[in-house]
Symmetry: D2
Subunit: 439 residues, 4 copies
């Protein structure tokens, strides 16, 4: 979590002030429930809400002495609340506060991640419809294969991030639990009704069975999911990096007029944002492993998970949040060069249509072997001519081919519409419509 | 995937024979759809089903020559089907077959994993109810904290593996898709209806938008989930390892009478099964990373994912399957020593009840500071006596304490029932009932 | 890198001020070399040294505008140096400064890590000699096996961290290189002599062949090594956690008299420091993966490594530094309970000697099968008596055994000296001596 | 370890037969040492060597019964050796055999990896000298930067794999140790001289201090190193994949004339070998994590490492061995297109020389700002002309530029020799010579 890759809203979730505010709310709601149960006086609960306050610096000073953060907080809280403070935290254990707070923070972080993914989806959708019919070459192994459209590429990204959003929602649910169950989770010193009340107030569900802690398989699934979402960020970032290569030049990150370094070498517009995203994805992925190792705590709990979570809690969510926002911005402003895409499709003299020609010849009754031989000899000439000849022209001149198909039929096989015929179908699958209602 | 850690049903999914059988079914169903569309003759589709067959060794021999597995398969298929074979695979690309097959295999693997998790849940449930009221010490940081029951420990494991099962179901859904969409996913040479038909027949859903391949974020989520489930396996295995320590001795893996090595050192029953599970969990976790790195393929596809999947497809599913089965067996047969558990609770002369005494004194109106002082001086004497004194006995003899509570009241504070009062509540949360209807 | 787990000396290496100071030194030394070559005026180089200065806040302000950290720095430097500043950085590329600086920082970080490992070794050595002859039980699988000494356990740790130190030295060497080689590493615009000069001045060696950047396999090896060292930290921390368990109680982390939370539950001294170390180890390990993924940069460089390094540079070194220091403190002050260790060895009534009895009987000519039967029947009685009988006593009463060995011979087999006979040999291997010259 | 990615020599190391042969040698050498010490009869040791034999299937059958591999082996060995077999393994523990054997296997595996890296280095060296002066464009961020030579790219790869070789040698040393130290490493039942003898005979060094096992930090370092080496494989593989892209076409994997699939689409030569290498690298990296988690065994040992090592021992070494061999083949046969490289350098009309022009103008006394303005306006025209104009031509026509430099001076700035001037220096650094003595 370094300033360079941090956005304020996500950072705020992890600030000490936020944490202590959540602690306060948990304790105060617990007091309400305890008062309702008659365990503590109603006046005590009211006093906590009325006079409850805390001071981060003061808590730090106390913690430096007592070496225990929850005790430091409670001590400072008591300084504000006064005598009734002795009813606060009754029957609870530190983990009740810490774990429930951590989950509140993760839920809020998930909400921001989901919202940012929605923003990304909007940008992808807009650009996808904008380029629904922008024909470009499809590549397998980095080699030209058959035509597709740039809109289809973006539709794929849209579908992938729609899955990412759904996964984030499930991840949010995983950690949306609350535990107020005491030292080993038996509710020995506190009624389960307190947990139910605090859970409801904090927007969580009670953890069905906690030990001292909320089980960490939930958090492992949460952080593993973030790693998968980050990997999707990397995929789209990698696509942009490829498209921006000097030799490809089909698209590039937006480069503001005032941005430094471009003019003496006008071609030197580097895809630094998407390269950066590639690196950030590596980090978010890397946090999944410690989260998984956190699951096997000893017996009812050990505290080895704590240092890990103090780091990856902020680091993973802040980094992914920043990455999603940066990717949104990149895709929103991506400069696309349809004319370069169009040229590129034709770059190989029509060789990308050879499969279709092959298919058409066999459909005309030519044996597979013969069809292959006919296409092959012309394709090879095109390839070796390095731009001088096109496949269509040679096929039209090939007597043996002409015997089966006339010039127009042949020309028809080089129609790009053949490759885009099902774009609407795919758009309907992905967006529920082939028409951009927002346009 | 080594024999030692492999079960036959899961291994069978990954055998060449199974793979080719799935390929055959994909191709044959595709022929049906193509015939229905009128693209190929109905007789051709019928011929494929009627005479379609393959021979693994023959395919291997062909592949050694042509260096392409799908072509080798089709060649061998043609040897059986005859002339009509030229209609097979029309308009399709190798990935259509490979990716759809891989997903079928993963879905079947997930089914086995889910079934085994269900079996584990049954064992955990049975043992949980068996030991619902078996009091044992709860530990935080490996140090005695407060009493709990062994049934609660198992209920926690049950809840965790119920989550694991649900995650596996979601993971299964993630990969239950089919793509028959051609070289760059545009359906240029094949109608989407073929995909729909094959998907339905193979128990999958059509991939909304594929490129040449099914997007690998799906598989990343699948394998990451397996890593999380394996981490839960490690947690329960670690619990058993701890309980079996010589000094703890509260439970141990079943050790068959004839099992070697025990008699001259009868204490030397090593928790080797659960140690083994700990190692296997490390492996399954480790496979999540390459799966995540597989997401960012270049453009419409590169084949870097393939080698990874050839390894982790079998390795991760076979290993987790074996681990779940071994854990089921361990938990099913776990030898539990309730009397040791009972002794252990009392081992510290009642110090584990000190928190409750503290709370009771304050409830009697003693100030927190005074209550603490009273408990502390007696607790310290118990601790230093190393087993000679108990806390109850000393408190009953402490005049200052007696001033607030009589002998019986004090004795009541050492009642274990206090700690187990909410066990039924928790069981109801976890199992939906506090009574074992199966008993 | 969060304050809680950060030590000032390591943190200082990663402060902006330090970074810019190193940048300044690199640029100034480069000027010297350029002046020496006659490429720039000597007066310019002198001016840089004489008036060179920078201001972190000012640089930040400039960077906010130009979006380029090196340009911002150079601009600010020029504000101090004046006109001669135009000779600074001539022929160099940003990566020349950035990569060389990063390596200087890593080298300094490695120096601190090595020094802290030396301090840990000193503590381990002192405690090892202190407990060279403190007999305790050795355990395999968590089960009592045969006696060893606590000093041997510490000697093992010493040997492991001596390897860790050596690995850190090699890791330091890996990254102790300097590159001043221009945009694609060809020295087109700058003489290799500049690189040689700067390298010597900064305590580095010239990178034999750089592209635009220093190759990242070096850094991958560096961070992977840190992950391995962290795993050794985890091993020793885990040992302490086990020894401190309530049931084991052979050693515990030092607990200062004033430390909170202990008195009412005097047994509740939690091994929180070593649990914390276990978590920190997970983090440091996790950073190895992104470092390895950083190796495969595109062509002569892409900048995806940068965000990763901005995070793991500080995070991995600061965390490991803190962990080593904390471990040093834990081991230095570890409270050891030799009497508990001694009791524990005898806990099983001498069963831990059964192997030796078996061996002795066979050496007396008893067949293996008979020897086994004799030991087994007595061992089983001891085990089932749960503390009432000892193996020695039963063997001495067993007529069939007595036929081969008399009481004294049998008693001799239970001599712990047998197990410690080679301790000196092992100490000589590890420490070069079996006598503590420092004592 | 699947046949597709396995070479026989490495696979042979991991065959049961090899393992048992090593076990036999360890036991037999131990007998020699024991006989020399007088612990067992010399005749017994001689009998072991004379009649010692084993049968893999028979061992498997015994293990199925006794569930212990070392006992099964010893039983089968006894069936061949006869009565003297009772002296075999005396005072040893199973781990003595297992761990020492595993290290012998890793050492042999390391030898193969080192040898293959040497072969790769030879290929890289040959190709580097072949293309020492083959000018090509250097790229940062995938964007054309300045010229370099293809030989320099290969020299970089050579230097990187020279480091890889050195790291593999260090990794080999890490695991080249032997332990014959008994149940908890105290040599209670066996003299250290036995260990020394076996170590010498097996080409290992005695482990200074073992517990029951050889410490796993050694293996963690070993497998982490393999992960780093695999990452270097990925880097070079990625370079080839980029060079083979349709738009780049500067080099391609060798494609045998008979290889399937090329003729109808002659451009469709996919870099499948290097894509495959990218995937294999992910796997080898992934094995580093479980190896690191293996370090923290409990007390003197637990067996959790064993399952991990049964998998990653073969999997990591076999996969890296295959990858290095495949990379050697790829680089050895790589088809290079110098003419495409030459064309590519000129593709941007000389813009890649703009930096040098800038530098030259300032050296002529033009202020930095003016120089920048002059270069910029011409560079921009070149860029916008999309191939019509070259920078040199425009500069020569620019009166303001001509005022400072004449046509020839300007032309001189576009001399590629400027960029290759230090190639010999770099080659001398990397290869110790700038002349290919092998040529």
């Amino acid at each position: 979590m370094i300033p360079r890759y941090t956005r304020p809203a996500m950072a705020a979730i992890w600030e000490p002030k936020t944490k202590f505010q959540i602690w306060f709310e948990i304790e105060a709601h617990a007091c309400d429930a305890q008062a309702e149960l008659g365990v503590i006086p109603k006046a005590a609960a009211e006093a906590v809400w009325a006079r409850g306050a805390f001071d981060v610096e003061r808590i730090d000073a106390i913690e430096a002495e007592v070496k225990h953060d929850v005790i430091a907080f409670l001590t400072n809280l008591a300084e504000h609340v006064g005598d009734e403070a002795r009813f606060v935290h009754q029957g609870m254990t530190s983990s009740d506060v810490l774990d429930t707070c951590f989950n509140v923070q993760l839920v809020r972080a998930a909400d921001l991640l989901i919202a940012q993914t929605e923003a990304l989806l909007q940008a992808l959708r807009r650009r996808a419809f904008e380029h629904k019919d922008t024909v470009c070459i499809g590549r397998s192994h980095g080699i030209h294969a058959e035509p597709t459209t740039f809109g289809l590429k973006l539709a794929q990204a849209y579908a992938e991030f729609a899955r990412a959003r759904d996964r984030l929602k499930l991840a949010r649910e995983e950690v949306a639990t609350c535990a107020i169950s005491g030292a080993v989770g038996t509710f020995a010193n506190i009624d389960p009704a307190v947990e139910a009340h605090v859970a409801a107030k904090m927007g969580l569900k009670p953890e069905p069975v906690s030990t001292q802690v909320i089980p960490r398989d939930r958090h492992a699934q949460f952080f593993a999911t973030l790693g998968v979402v980050a990997s999707s960020v990397e995929r789209l970032a990698t696509e942009v990096r490829h498209l921006q290569r000097t030799e490809v030049g089909e698209a590039e990150e937006y480069f503001s007029p005032g941005q430094k370094g471009s003019s003496a070498m006008p071609h030197k517009r580097n895809p630094v944002l998407t390269e950066n995203l590639t690196g950030l994805a590596r980090m978010v992925r890397g946090y999944a492993l410690p989260a998984m190792e956190n699951v096997a705590l000893w017996h009812e709990r050990d505290i080895s998970h704590s240092s890990v979570e103090r780091m990856i809690g902020p680091d993973a969510t802040v980094t992914l949040d920043f990455a999603l926002a940066r990717l949104t911005q990149v895709m929103d402003k991506l400069v696309v060069y349809p004319e370069v895409m169009a040229e590129t499709v034709e770059k190989l003299g029509g060789l990308v249509h050879s499969q279709r020609v092959l298919l058409a010849l066999t459909q005309k009754g030519v044996s597979r072997e013969d069809a292959y031989r006919l296409v092959q000899r012309n394709a090879m000439t095109v390839w070796q001519s390095r731009g001088e000849h096109t496949l269509l022209e040679l096929l039209q001149q090939d007597a043996e081919v002409s015997a089966h198909m006339n010039r127009d039929e042949l020309a028809g096989l080089f129609d790009l519409g053949y490759h885009t015929a099902h774009v609407d179908t795919i758009f309907e699958r992905v967006f529920g419509t082939a028409r951009d209602h927002m346009a």
